[in-house]
């Protein structure tokens, strides 16, 4: 059987009853913070500086020559853990400037209600076309608004530097070969 133990309550001292020591010690903390570095921001007027490698909203980018880099290989769609990405592949018009790339997305949708900002799409992309950049605030009034389509993704992505110009090099080699008539001449 549990035994009930009655604890005796001691009467409060004068200092305790006046509450003054507590108020003073609280104010000490408050005042000390007034002279420290601020940890809050006046968001949204003031925006934070994002660290390098920050994973914001996934976006599609153009290369400095204005070519859309995505070739709709659909690897990001495959790797995406929450299945947020949906690509409709398409063929580039044979008459177009970038016809030698042959493939580009007809439609590219990322459902930001599903996206978990994991960055696997950026990691898997063989064409360096998708990047999680510095956009972190996605809002909308409906579910549809929260799905970024191709146009929106390119608008968010902008242009990023290219280190390879793989397709430009390929085009140059192809043009040179064509000028030689391939090997048939």
């Amino acid at each position: 059987m549990a035994e009930t133990k009655v604890l005796e309550r001691k009467p409060l001292s004068l200092a305790e009853r006046s509450n003054l020591p507590q108020i003073v010690s609280g104010l000490k903390t408050t005042v000390s913070h007034m002279f420290r570095k601020k940890v809050t921001l006046q968001y949204p007027e003031v925006r934070p500086t994002l660290p390098e490698g920050y994973r914001g909203v996934p976006t599609l980018v153009h290369d400095p020559h204005g070519r859309e880099k995505c070739v709709s290989c659909q690897l990001c769609e495959f790797v995406c853990p929450p299945k947020a990405i949906r690509i409709t592949p398409g063929e580039i018009d044979p008459e177009a400037e970038t016809a030698h790339v042959e493939k580009a997305p007809k439609e590219f949708e990322i459902d930001m209600l599903r996206c978990i900002y994991c960055g696997l799409c950026e990691e898997v992309c063989p064409e360096e076309a998708i990047f999680l950049q510095d956009v972190y605030s996605m809002t909308g009034y409906s579910r549809e608004e929260m799905v970024n389509n191709k146009e929106k993704l390119y608008e968010l992505g902008g242009t990023l530097p290219d280190h390879h110009y793989k397709w430009d090099k390929k085009r140059a080699a192809e043009d040179a070969a064509k000028a030689r008539g391939y090997a048939h001449s």
Binding site: F78, P89, E91, E102, K103, K170, A177, Y182, A183, H184
Partner: protein, 573 residues
């Protein structure tokens, strides 16, 4: 294991493991017997051997013999002394022989594969992100498995034409071609249309069509299937969907009574392509181009998606009850059976016809046969209609006999499966004169004169079995779901039968039908849908083999020798 065997087999040693294999095969096939894959590009099971890719290089050794006496030379421990070839040989062109040895994983073999892969990749473009073959590409697979893992090539790759149109259905990307010549050999050896060939030398070699010709054979898409890389691509499937998203389901081609085994590749309820599935008794590894287009019927504009009763929309169940109300009291019923229906559907239609005492009609759909995989009977299941007892003779060219019977007033209700009455010799007046119930997948002009329209599902949306020209029972499975709310043909016919029999209406799958089918004596006895092997089962046609079928010859069927091969009891009578 014994060194001496019966006359039909030999013992070979693969990586020191003795393996008994049939005579006449090659070492690459012997390795397959024990589940060992020797990498290869140009070798194809169903084509001649050229041995030009060199990917299957292995070390080969033979038991040595004394040249003077012909006596085997033995090691000190009494085992036969093996003479290993001085250099590696190709496994695809080495016939099996008694005691022959093969090393498939030695340092030398690995070196050979590194070398071959390196040469193949020298001029191969970095196209994987845009290449349709990615995901099922032998070059990708072998580069990972047998390649060196890094490139020493710093020169410029050799550019070649990228979008050569070879024919109405095939596009060639020359840069990706590894010159294995499978496509050339296929066109020579299977359709016998020697239209493809290589021109130019060395790294300039190019696949091309004979001048003035194009790759327009009805078998051209098989070259795309057997292309180990992404050089030949299908114009229909090109850039549509990456293969790793697609799920293949075993199916049967409904183009003709050949019943080519297929795989239908779909993603999320949408079909993207049809490829052949190997069945050495029916279609080897091939199928027609025209058969690959059939999936387009699923999303056709004119699909029937709503049941109609006297022009008013109804639910499938209401429409079936209305049909029952028509059929039950009538003494003058006719059924128009379809040889497009599956065996199970035909079985239930037969029971409906038996119960209502219906006259039975059917229309044949015959065309010219090409001697390969397109037979004269352009429906998949004429034999099924005969074996289930639905029909006792071959379908007629048209429905004029039914028309005459309607004109004579002998018919007042017609249950018509799949056929379009107006295209089969009936007039609008004849259709309007009776209560016409049409069960079909697609709309027809006759529908506005029909009493009841029962939408049904295409072969890609239902499961069942067909019996091909060789009386081979083969099963197909649903690939995609049908339009929302619709019942399968089997469900509709089984439910209608239950209604007429005052029995319970329940969900019916092919296996339920087979429970009843297999209980009847006859060719189906003991068979079940679930346990039917994927390559099918040859049935005993009995008397039915003697109908005057239109098929003469196809890849694996020859009418006269087929009849001769049947048990004597069948043909003698």
């Amino acid at each position: 294991m014994a060194e001496t065997n019966g006359s039909d087999t030999v013992t070979v040693y693969i990586d020191d493991e003795p393996v008994v294999v049939p005579k006449g095969i090659t070492m690459i096939e012997a390795a397959e017997h024990v589940g060992k894959e020797i990498p290869h590009y140009c070798y194809h099971q169903k084509l001649s051997v050229v041995g030009n890719c060199r990917m299957c290089l292995v070390e080969l050794g033979w038991p040595m013999k004394d040249r003077a006496t012909g006596e085997p030379i033995l090691e000190e421990d009494g085992s036969p002394k093996i003479g290993w070839g001085g250099k590696p040989g190709i496994a695809c062109n080495q016939p099996v022989a008694e005691g022959i040895r093969m090393r498939t994983d030695s340092d030398l073999v690995r070196d050979c594969r590194h070398g071959v892969m390196e040469f193949l990749l020298v001029n191969h473009p970095l196209d994987c992100p845009i290449c349709d073959q990615a995901g099922e590409c032998k070059l990708q697979e072998y580069a990972t498995e047998y390649g060196r893992g890094y490139s020493r090539f710093i020169e410029e790759k050799n550019p070649k034409p990228k979008r050569t149109v070879l024919g109405p259905r095939v596009i060639l990307d020359d840069e990706r071609c590894i010159l294995c010549s499978r496509c050339v050999r296929f066109m020579q050896e299977i359709p016998g249309d020697d239209v493809l060939g290589f021109i130019d030398h060395g790294s300039y070699s190019t696949l091309t069509c004979y001048p003035g010709r194009e790759l327009d054979s009805n078998y051209s898409l098989n070259t795309v299937d057997i292309c180990p890389v992404g050089a030949l691509t299908s114009r229909d499937f090109r850039f549509q969907m990456r293969v790793w998203f697609l799920k293949p389901v075993d199916s049967i081609c409904t183009e003709s009574s050949v019943g080519a085994n297929t795989q239908v590749w779909a993603r999320e309820g949408k079909i993207y392509r049809i490829t052949p599935r190997q069945n050495d008794a029916v279609n080897d590894t091939w199928m027609t181009d025209s058969g690959r287009d059939l999936y387009k019927q699923v999303e056709a504009e004119d699909r029937l998606t709503t049941p109609f009763v006297r022009g008013i929309e109804a639910t499938p169940v209401q429409a079936l009850r209305e049909t029952e109300r028509l059929l039950r009291p009538s003494e003058r019923v006719a059924v128009v059976a379809s040889t497009h229906s599956s065996v199970e559907e035909q079985y239930f239609l037969r029971r409906i016809a038996d119960r209502t005492g219906a006259q039975r009609y059917a229309v044949r759909h015959w065309g010219e046969e090409d001697g390969l995989l397109l037979s004269a009977d352009r429906t998949p299941n004429t034999r099924g209609a005969l074996l289930t007892g639905l029909l006792d003779e071959l379908p007629k060219p048209d429905l004029r006999e039914l028309g005459a019977a309607i004109d004579r007033g002998e018919i007042d209700t017609v249950l018509c499966i799949h056929e379009d009455p107006l295209a089969c010799g009936l007039t609008v007046e004849q259709v309007r004169k009776v209560a016409w119930v049409r069960m079909a997948t697609h709309a027809s002009p006759a529908d506005e004169h029909a009493f009841i329209a029962l939408p049904s599902l295409t072969v890609f949306e239902r499961s069942g079995t067909f019996i091909n020209q060789q009386f081979r029972l083969q099963k197909f499975r649903a690939v995609v779901p049908g339009p929302a709310g619709l019942l399968t043909d089997l469900q509709q016919l089984a439910s209608l039968n239950s209604l007429l029999e005052d029995g319970p209406v329940a969900s019916v799958q092919p296996d339920h039908a087979w429970k009843e089918l297999s209980a009847e004596p006859g060719p189906f006895a003991g068979l079940r849908f679930r346990t039917l092997p994927s390559e099918g089962v040859a049935l005993d046609p009995g008397e039915h083999a003697r109908h005057p079928f239109p098929e003469r010859q196809s890849l694996k069927y020859e009418a006269d020798s087929f009849l001769a091969s049947l048990p004597a009891a069948t043909t003698a009578s």
